[in-house]
């Protein structure tokens, strides 16, 4: 097991290097001279030269690449070009609000979509099943933007059930007051695709021989569905969950933007709007790393869910 983890971590190195090179090419070559990007903010030629020296862009490209690799390894991406705040500080302070919304969202969404998917898979082919599937297809087709705009207007602005937007200081205050509507919208958006997907996973299992055997043994339908079918369908569910995990770091950026939640996602949009390259670079690398880590975690969880899985 330990050997496997070490080998997998070792295999991440080339991919991570690739990500670094990709980001480097994007921002240092395609993006052009950062001094020109900054020129809109600072007009003084001397200052621009100064900044170029500070950023190291007057150096040859391999020195610049080395600077970037050092930044990734030390986690010190310098200061934001817009606010002069340290990039590591920005990311650290924005992570909390994002997680306050997204962790409850992920938990509720997973439990609800698994429960509902088991239910509709159990009554597969019935009117309920078809109605739920049609609702999911239609629900999926409506833009996330429409959901956010309408929900914010109707539930917060018109009915006043939730605050229209904002964010407080205390964790509980945020969770109980401000995060409720964002979580609700997140659920509406994410349950439809997950429910559809998980239903197909359960349908694959429901006709297997072991289900008939379990019935023949006289097990209750609840036990068959929740213990036997769920466990056997858990591998694709874990894959889907883990694939969505890195976006936890990125945050539901549209929701954060609409509700003025000072999270990572909103920060990304602000950074793109302001051409704040250090922030985007840092985030891209970190999120790529989180993706690889969650892939590894997913493989380890397969083993826990299904002892037949061989880790190679």
């Amino acid at each position: 097991m330990t050997a496997y983890i070490i080998r997998r971590l070792w295999q991440m190195v080339p991919t991570l290097l690739g990500v670094i090179v990709l980001v480097f090419i994007l921002f240092n070559w395609v993006g052009g001279d950062p001094a020109y990007v900054l020129a809109g903010k600072i007009s003084n030629q001397e200052q621009i030269d100064n900044i170029r020296r500070q950023l190291g862009v007057d150096q040859p490209w391999f020195v610049q690449l080395w600077i970037f690799i050092k930044q990734v390894l030390t986690g010190d991406f310098g200061a934001s070009w817009s606010t002069n705040e340290k990039v590591s500080d920005i990311l650290a302070t924005r992570l909390g609000p994002s997680l306050t919304v997204l962790v409850p969202l992920l938990i509720i969404d997973t439990l609800l979509s698994i429960g509902l998917a088991l239910a509709v898979a159990y009554v597969r082919g019935s009117l309920t099943d078809r109605a739920v599937m049609i609702a999911c297809t239609v629900g999926l087709s409506i833009s996330v933007l429409v959901y956010i705009i309408v929900f914010q207007y109707f539930f917060a602005y018109k009915l006043g059930w939730f605050p229209v937007q904002g964010w407080g200081n205390g964790f509980w205050e945020n969770l109980i007051t401000y995060a409720r509507l964002p979580i609700l919208i997140g659920l509406v958006v994410s349950i439809a695709p997950n429910l559809r997907l998980y239903r197909t996973f359960f349908l694959d299992e429901i006709n297997q021989d072991y289900v008939r055997t379990a019935r023949a043994k006289g097990l209750s339908e609840n036990r068959i569905m929740w213990i036997h079918v769920l466990r056997n369908a858990s591998i694709p569910i874990i894959t889907n969950l883990m694939a969505g995990l890195p976006s936890l770091l990125l945050g539901a950026f549209l929701i954060e933007r609409f509700f003025s939640i000072p999270g990572i996602g909103r920060e990304v949009i602000l950074a793109v709007e302001r051409s704040d390259f250090p922030v985007i670079k840092a985030l891209t690398v970190y999120v790529a790393f989180a993706t690889m880590a969650s892939n590894l975690l997913a493989d380890l969880m397969y083993k826990a869910a299904d002892p037949r899985v061989q880790l190679k």
């Binding site: 690739g18 994007l26 999926l140 197909t200 990125l250």
Partner: protein, 404 residues
């Protein structure tokens, strides 16, 4: 032997003499069979018709047959939809009620009520003021900027000029429009049609780019194997370890230049990974098959084997991918344009309409949101249902696995 006969599979094996003796019936090809299956699928046909209607609308709008004058301010500002009737409230919500500066434009401008409207003079002035701006540059947004400009007094002389033009502005405008009007009195119906042009075109073109890249990369990686495969797989794992939307936003930040072509490139260049994975797998499977060995024996080159012999046998996968990507990219374009990273401001798209509608909703002007949202939902629903039907028709073994 042609690749077409390979697709049929069974026919060419029989000796020539026997083939003559038996009345020669060509067994229907993959596409004919798929079409037959698709025709039996009522939901599939209905969704195909809707998708085709949308594409027809897009072509008609692109060639200027319909919605050519979408930018013309034909109605009153925020003209309500005809089925509701003219706005009788007069000077409704105060401009300050909106949290956003953009929406601080005059909220009502019904001409029948103008006589009793205490704000009529101001409204007329602002309306008149728009005239020169609208004629010399059709840039929406410039007008709104002026109406909230605290330095607007400086523009007094421009307004004086404009007052003379006010008369024909007023008489050209109607109180209601079929699906309502936007802030500047432009017809929402025409905007929605024009917006479909951008959204559908971007979706289709970006999907074509992404599928093409994914197919070519996947074919090369799967066909050649060995170190080529390793190299492409490394490339794939690099691209797929960055979440898709973050990659799009990063590329958008770097390119920093708006345009339909830019957004097609952004979506296309970042979106090839899914197709790559599937096509690579298909090529790995197919390259060892007998018909490819046969092609090798008759001296077909690598390129010919890859694209003339194997490709027709995996093309159904490509087609389904193209369909899936189109839906995905239509959605992505709407979000990008909404955020202002998509098409430029003078191009209307469903995303930019939703952006305007966001502020209008607080004033109670819901029709632009409804029009853009509904048009998109109908198209995306139809396209997804069509994709499912297409997949079932092309690969009946999969039937029932996904949805339905």
């Amino acid at each position: 032997m042609t690749s077409a006969s390979m697709t049929n599979g069974s026919a060419p094996k029989a000796p020539v003499r026997i083939a003559r003796a038996i009345p020669h019936t060509v067994s229907p090809g993959l596409w004919a069979l798929a079409w037959k299956r698709l025709k039996c699928d009522r939901v599939g046909v209905a969704s195909l018709v809707i998708v085709l209607l949308f594409i027809l609308m897009m072509i008609a709008s692109a060639t200027g047959l319909i919605a050519k004058d979408w930018a013309k301010e034909t109605g009153a500002n925020y003209a309500p939809p005809s089925f509701i009737g003219a706005d009788i409230e007069g000077g409704a919500p105060a401009a300050g009620a909106s949290p956003s500066g953009m929406a601080a434009a005059p909220s009502s401008s019904d001409f029948k009520s103008e006589v009793v409207d205490p704000l009529a003079d101001v409204l007329a002035e602002i309306k008149g003021e728009k005239k020169p701006a609208a004629t010399d540059a059709a840039v929406p947004g410039a007008d709104a900027g002026k109406s909230v400009d605290p330095l607007a007094d400086v523009m007094a002389d421009i307004r004086k000029d404009a007052k003379s033009a006010k008369a024909d502005v007023v008489e050209a405008r109607t109180a209601t429009l079929p699906l309502g009007g936007d802030k500047w009195g432009r017809d929402v119906l025409k905007k929605t049609i024009k917006g479909s042009e951008t959204s559908i075109f971007v979706g289709l073109a970006a999907a074509a780019v992404a599928t093409l890249l994914g197919t070519v990369f996947g074919a090369i990686a799967g066909y050649y194997g060995k170190w080529v495969d390793d190299a492409f797989n490394w490339f794939y794992s690099v691209f797929s370890s960055i979440p898709y939307l973050l990659l799009i936003l990063a590329v958008a930040a770097v390119l920093n230049q708006k345009g339909t072509l830019t957004i097609i490139l952004i979506l296309g260049l970042t979106g090839w990974t899914g197709t790559f994975r599937l096509i690579r797998g298909e090529y790995l499977k197919h390259k060892a098959r007998e018909y490819v060995q046969a092609a090798d024996a008759i001296g077909a080159s690598n390129g010919s084997r890859m694209f003339r012999h194997i490709f027709p046998n995996v093309s159904h996968v490509v087609l389904v991918q193209l369909s899936i990507y189109t839906v995905l990219f239509i959605k992505a374009e709407v979000i990008l344009s909404f955020l202002g990273f998509g098409v430029p401001v003078d191009v209307v798209s469903w995303g930019s309409m939703l952006n305007e509608a966001q502020n209008e909703l607080i004033l109670g002007k819901w029709w632009q949101l409804a029009a853009a949202g509904t048009a998109m939902a109908v198209l995306v629903t139809a396209f997804s249902l069509f994709t499912d039907a297409l997949r079932d028709a092309l690969d009946p073994k999969l039937k029932g696995l996904a949805g339905a």
